[in-house]
């Protein structure tokens, strides 16, 4: 995923946000990614959008670096989804400012103000991590090309062995392996074989000098890419830690906001609608939702079941045999435990 992916989700979220809260400057009218705005600003100022992420990261860089290693939360969520959840929730949260001030005088409202920056900073950190981890993505293609070159050169070298122009022993080293380094080495060996005997074989083979050069290039590219990949873990590990810290910072701030909203909207029961859990549908191993409500009569008043708005499910969606056994009775939980 890149910043472009996040921008795409930003566009649609911003449109939705605008309809919800048209006076909110931070997330709507000032949003350069708003498709309605960008329609009058052609071309779309993608640099400005990217700058929002980078600028937010710079503003949060100190706080992100200060997240202690033992507080890191594992990031097993889809970052664009996290981002859109936050951006979608902020307008609703802003509308609760005065109520929060009255009911929770000690609550730090700057946490709400800073959530979008936290989310943008996470987006930036995520994009950097993605770039770092994708450096080796083209390796399979290079491998395929080098393998093709090796097989072609080997086939024609074998023909030249048959007519006595190459020695069989020259080909014995070419095992036609399947590893990156092995294939690169074999192509180089074949290129060397043809290069050394070129004056002798050039008029007796379908291989051209361009083929030999193409083989050489393919082997060089594959070797360089393997070397780059080997060096990659250090860079990607650093980017992964930064990403995880950015997520932890956002999650900590958002959790405190959600706690306040839960307190404020306890009677209404809509806290999860206003500030949805980042883990909705992913679960955290908490089995509170396993407790199915007492069976009740379909016709009469039925006890409220485990709330469907706060689904806390394990990621694997395993089925509890007890829950299945009770599934046929009224009032069982709607969700897999």
């Amino acid at each position: 995923m890149s910043l472009t992916d996040i921008q795409t989700t930003t566009n649609s979220t911003a449109t939705q946000t605008k309809t919800i809260h048209s006076t909110d400057k931070d997330t709507t009218t000032m949003n350069p990614a708003d498709p309605q705005t960008s329609a009058t600003q052609s071309p779309v100022d993608s640099a400005a959008i990217e700058d929002r992420f980078i600028s937010a990261f710079k503003r949060r860089e100190g706080a992100i670096a200060a997240v202690p290693a033992d507080a890191l939360q594992s990031l097993n969520l889809d970052v664009p989804t996290v981002y859109t959840t936050i951006v979608g929730a902020v307008p609703h949260l802003q509308s609760l400012r005065s109520d929060l001030t009255k009911s929770l005088p000690g609550f730090d409202l700057s946490l709400i103000d800073g959530l979008v920056d936290d989310a943008l900073a996470l987006g930036s950190a995520h994009a950097r991590w993605k770039i770092a981890t994708e450096m080796g993505a083209s390796l399979p293609e290079m491998m395929a090309e080098a393998t093709r070159q090796r097989d072609r050169l080997y086939l024609h070298a074998q023909a030249l062995v048959d007519v006595g122009l190459f020695q069989q022993s020259s080909l014995d080293e070419i095992k036609r392996t399947g590893s990156y380094r092995g294939v690169a080495f074999e192509v180089i060996s074949l290129v060397q074989l043809f290069s050394d005997g070129w004056a002798r074989v050039s008029a007796k083979t379908a291989i051209t000098s361009a083929d030999v050069l193409a083989g050489s290039d393919a082997a060089d590219r594959l070797t360089a890419a393997v070397a780059e990949r080997d060096a990659q873990p250090k860079a990607s590990a650093a980017a992964a830690v930064t990403r995880q810290k950015a997520f932890t910072l956002l999650a900590q701030h958002y959790d405190r906001v959600r706690q306040a909203v839960s307190f404020l909207r306890w009677n209404e029961g809509d806290a999860d609608v206003i500030a949805p859990s980042l883990y909705a549908g992913r679960g955290n191993g908490n089995h509170k939702s396993n407790k199915a409500a007492e069976p009740a009569q379909p016709g009469g008043a039925v006890a409220p079941p485990a709330s469907p708005t706060t689904p806390i499910m394990p990621a694997t969606h395993t089925v509890d045999p007890k829950a299945l056994a009770d599934a046929g009775l009224p009032g069982a939980s709607p969700y897999l435990s």
């Binding site: 379909p298 469907p308 689904p311 046929g328 009775l329 709607p334 969700y335 897999l336």
Partner: protein, 464 residues
Amino acid sequence: MATPTLYLGLGRRLDGPGTSHKRLVPARHLVTHGVVVGMTGSGKTGLLAVTLEEALRAGIPALVIDVKGDLPNLALAPPLGDAEALAPWLEEADGDDERPLGDRVAEAVGARDRALTAWGLGGSEVEAFRARTRVRVLTPGSTAGEPLHVLSSLERRSPLWDVDPESARAALSAAVSLVLRLVGRDPEPARSRDHVLLAVLAERRLRGGQSADLASLLADLERPPIDELGALPLETFLPRSERRSLSVALNTLLASPTFETWRQGATLDVGAWLAPDAEGRTQAVVVSVAHLDDEERALVLGVLLEETLAWVRSLPGSQQLRALVVFDEVYGFLPPHPANPPTKRPLVALMKQARAFGVGVVVATQNPMDLDYRALGNAGVWCVGRLQTDADRARVVDGLTGGGVDRQATRKLVDTLGRLAPRWFVLRDAHDGDEPGLLQVRSTITLLRGPMTRGEMRRVAGAA
């Protein structure tokens, strides 16, 4: 008369805490058809069974198309507490269960009684269901259940030829396709010259007030009563040698004892099937094709659905639900363009036209990607159980939301569909104008057990 309602189970709001309530769907809402989607094990067949039970309790007959072999179980509705009636239908014990049969039967009887009682259905409701309904199981091409004369639209002249020749022609075409498939020839009406000639010869007879049984068609092939077909001489369109080859194949079919099972049994008369029986009971007719291969299923069901469509068109208009057509596991029979099995045309036509005649169609599938969008677009009641893949969930969300829910709500809905427990569905009834809600399907009065074997179908048919 009050509009009958179908008691499907307990309903609950999708968002926010709230109490559950008895979920009643007015029967007339199903005239705009229903779609049931959910992965294997989500409880689709149970929901269909409950819907059918409720329709029958309300005096609404049903035609049930069964591909898996599950729905013949509708015929099994033993009285509450009756161990003797339940025992023959108890599943085999698994390897770890070494208890005597009597203990297992007693446990099963108790569990069924408790479940139905918890859902507010007692002995009197079960008895009323048993007394007022009749479930028939038809098995085309087999004598396991009641055999079905699937070529009756070919061999027994329908009165439709006098009032609605287009519908009669569609039914005839489907029957000719089936015959050609049975003799191993190309059954495609738009491509097969055999099909064109047989259909023309049969229609000529039927329009003239005669039947078009295979023996008569054989004679016509030998001595054609027509000289031209379209703009071509018959000899050019299908030379004598090819006509002879076709007549030999048909004769082999006629002489085959196996083929006899296709030509005996109940006449394909949907109107009679869905009328009250001699004792005034509401009927459900389950046409089970689980024993046929894929192509035979498509052709037989094509014949059946064409007949159903012809019957629907013969009805006067109605706003109330007059009958229900239920198709379990519709996968492959109503596919998106360009696939076009013989079942697709009549099914799409039913979903577009049957509402005006008070006939509702409910289809169920585990694969929403395989449904024709025209059929999906015509469905007013959606029940979606757990779906495993993002693509499947995305496909059904529009139908569930009517396209009017905001992004956040849509995301929540998609998430919910990935986590639903068995027998829980997201229900949207477009007639209510409500947002989607959760539905917990009630326990079935009939025995919801695995697919019925041929031997078991024989026992059911024998008991009936």
